[in-house]
Symmetry: C2
Subunit: 444 residues, 2 copies
């Protein structure tokens, strides 16, 4: 049996008292805000419980964060982003979680029996708009699934040596675009760009014909590090607040033409979607598992005492326009990552690069070993050579009107107790006629 | 003869009344601040004139921005960064420049004859600390000098087809790291990282042995664009506020090992230096010149009506530790860029990627056609095969204690009237013994 809250949490809910993910929301109406402290429609931090959002600004204003760390620092919950809170580090995170878990528990009267505070602080999810949880100064995307690296290398460069020799020595990554990171539910406009020329003709230019998703998760950085001061791999976990799901939308035709020699650029920067709720490492602790054995042994700065992943089943579903139900197209797991989150973070800083609170570190596409567990259409359809069938129609890459849904859901041994869920949904690629027309008008 | 200011501007000064670059500074003492409006030691915008900085917060507080655009918007000068001002666009920039030029001119009494306001608003450069001029949301680095692309390709991949086929069709770029951008004068700590293994041994790990500079300039973005709405190449100039110098410090051994297949990462992200003064495109207008003819003709979205560069002579000097004078090691020019600033910006947004005010777009290393005009040590020493001689000693890459100075200086036809200068200096690579020790302690 799980923990019990006075808030009704159905057995199917992804937000039981064990999860308590953090996000940032805006009440849709002043009535929904219920007279809380920031201006009624302002963005503020919240925690998900069942079908409700707990408004942390209301809890903070009522003086209920009374532990030693947060008692005099509860202004971190009166901000329009979680940056100040995540920067405070693990002592603040642990105290906030235990305070909130206690306040919401069935046998704790302070919130349960205070009708006015309940009214102010517990808002139905349907009455809020979720926003990006942090201000993301920099976004980095890694390339940490061996199966993904091998598949992409085979597709683009052939089956001899598909994985470049550096891959087994360091977690390869590139800098991503921070400005175009958007929260789940925001439409994606199909990008235009240049694709490979055929023969001696000029390159193709127009809407991407190979629009893809990439199944990833991403770490939200907690306290940063000073420029010039690397983070030790064995202390790296203290710099990670939690995880979100990430869809690294990719235009494969643009990517194939532009990426030599400096890596992906416009093939990725038109939009990157993350889920709104950050699931903390603490909530994920029961799902920690051994990470894959590494051969060759990593260099000392990457050789960690505690080489762990998390057992997080991941799924991708696609719902074509006009269809009633989505179809599942892949099942993978976070535990396929060869390089762990902590190795990624230690590597990122080993040259002295400074991370800042709220930064985003994507894992790269998480593919498993089997064709049913590949993390993007490039791999699933082997670059359009083996189309998928979705609800009876062939599918090579994404089509206009598709909705891509990514879920992550850890289950405790007790059946039907789900620990966490994130969802990236309503990705529409590309666009309504009006946008298309406007787009055309600008280009030509 | 140039314009005349009541402020004494020596003929050698790089900051005459024609230049008026914008920056952000902090008075070193309350006395230097002279009772201006923000807290005495707070960051605020300024403009360089001769050996003085004009405090724009003081000018704004005195109500002297009285033109139609800025009269009710002068709070843009009461900010700790230039983001609000650069976001306002060209009408605000033109009005600010003409107001400041008039206020500082010899025959205008409002500032000249107001001793109290002069005291508040004109501060000797020695009494201020220069800061980053904008909050840089994203930093992009292009690869727009054909000579640089050709030299690097020849060094790394051999003389057959040194330039990849995409290069002549699009301005190649990668996302850079925004957090580690620092202002001129900030020390650089030599990065550690992995270098190419030799034979079957594990990769080298330790301080970079091939630390290099890269001579670049960079555009500061003015008004941004909405996600999904590309900027037309013929309107791109309205999105560029001005230029700074940029030193894209590069660790060549780290770069050579890590960059396949996703591009440079830790080889660059340990520090990127920019000059503090943004020289506006308006100040540069007298130096506009034709950009190189492009063959093949660019695709329509890059084919601009006004294909222009600027004639900006660029120099790099190196001063080894303990030497009294720096030695010049290269002379290049901004006009060697094959892809113009406006083509870079239009390409960046063609996929819908959104730029934000204050973003930084680096040009890439600006090399000319001759060996004396190459823009980095990799090219100048042909990857250490042809060492340079600096003040009598051999030099392959940067050594600890080196100071790298980059200057850009346009001259008007009248001798000794310099229009603009930016300087990146006091780059110390890497470090005092204390840092080195601390660094070691963290890694091992």
């Amino acid at each position: 049996m799980g923990l019990k809250s006075f808030v009704e949490v159905s057995p199917e809910s992804h937000f039981p008292l064990e999860n308590l993910p953090f996000g940032v929301f805006r009440p849709k109406t002043a009535a929904a805000a219920g007279g809380s402290c920031p201006p009624p429609l302002a963005a503020r931090p919240g925690v998900a419980i069942g079908d409700l959002v707990l408004d942390l600004s209301a809890v903070a204003s009522a003086g209920l964060f009374d532990g030693p760390v947060l008692k005099n620092n509860h202004q971190c919950f009166l901000q329009p982003s979680l940056n100040m809170f995540v920067e405070m580090g693990r002592p603040a995170w642990k105290e906030a979680r235990s305070t909130i878990q206690k306040l919401l528990s069935a046998d704790e009267p302070r919130l349960r029996d205070n009708a006015s505070l309940r009214e102010k602080s517990l808002i139905p999810m349907g009455e809020v708009q979720m926003l990006l949880p942090t201000i993301i100064g920099d976004y980095t995307d890694f390339f940490c699934s061996m199966h993904h690296a091998k598949n992409c290398g085979t597709i683009f460069r052939g089956p001899e040596n598909p994985i470049s020799p550096n891959w087994f020595h360091l977690p390869i990554a590139y800098h991503g675009r921070a400005s175009s990171i958007i929260v789940s539910g925001t439409d994606i406009i199909r990008p235009r760009g240049q694709g490979h020329p055929s023969g001696k003709s000029p390159p193709y230019f127009g809407p991407s014909q190979k629009l893809d998703f990439e199944l990833e998760m991403a770490a939200i950085v907690g306290p940063g590090n000073e420029l010039g001061k690397p983070v030790d791999v064995n202390k790296a976990a203290d710099h990670i607040f939690g995880l979100v799901l990430l869809n690294d939308w990719s235009a494969r035709d643009i990517q194939a033409w532009e990426y030599v020699p400096l890596g992906p650029f416009l093939a990725k920067s038109f939009g990157t979607t993350i889920s709104p709720w950050i699931v903390t490492l603490e909530a994920l602790e029961p799902f920690a598992c051994d990470a894959p054995k590494q051969e060759p042994q990593p260099l000392p700065y990457l050789d960690e005492n505690n080489h762990r992943n998390y057992d997080i089943p991941l799924e991708v579903w696609v719902k074509p326009e006009g269809h009633e139900h989505p179809s599942i197209i892949t099942r993978s797991n976070f535990n396929h990552l060869y390089w762990t989150l902590t190795q990624q973070l230690a590597h990122h800083t080993v040259n002295g690069c400074n991370l800042r609170a709220g930064d985003l570190l994507g894992t790269g596409t998480i593919s498993g070993p089997d064709p049913e567990s590949y993390g993007c259409l490039l791999e699933l359809t082997w670059n359009a050579q083996k189309p998928l069938t979705i609800n009876g129609s062939d599918r090579k890459f994404l089509e206009d009107g598709d909705e891509v849904i990514i879920t992550a859901c850890c289950k405790t041994p007790t059946p039907r107790t789900w620990l966490l869920d994130n969802r990236i949904c309503r990705i529409i690629a590309p666009h309504q006629a009006t946008h298309q027309a406007r787009y055309l008008a600008i280009i030509y």
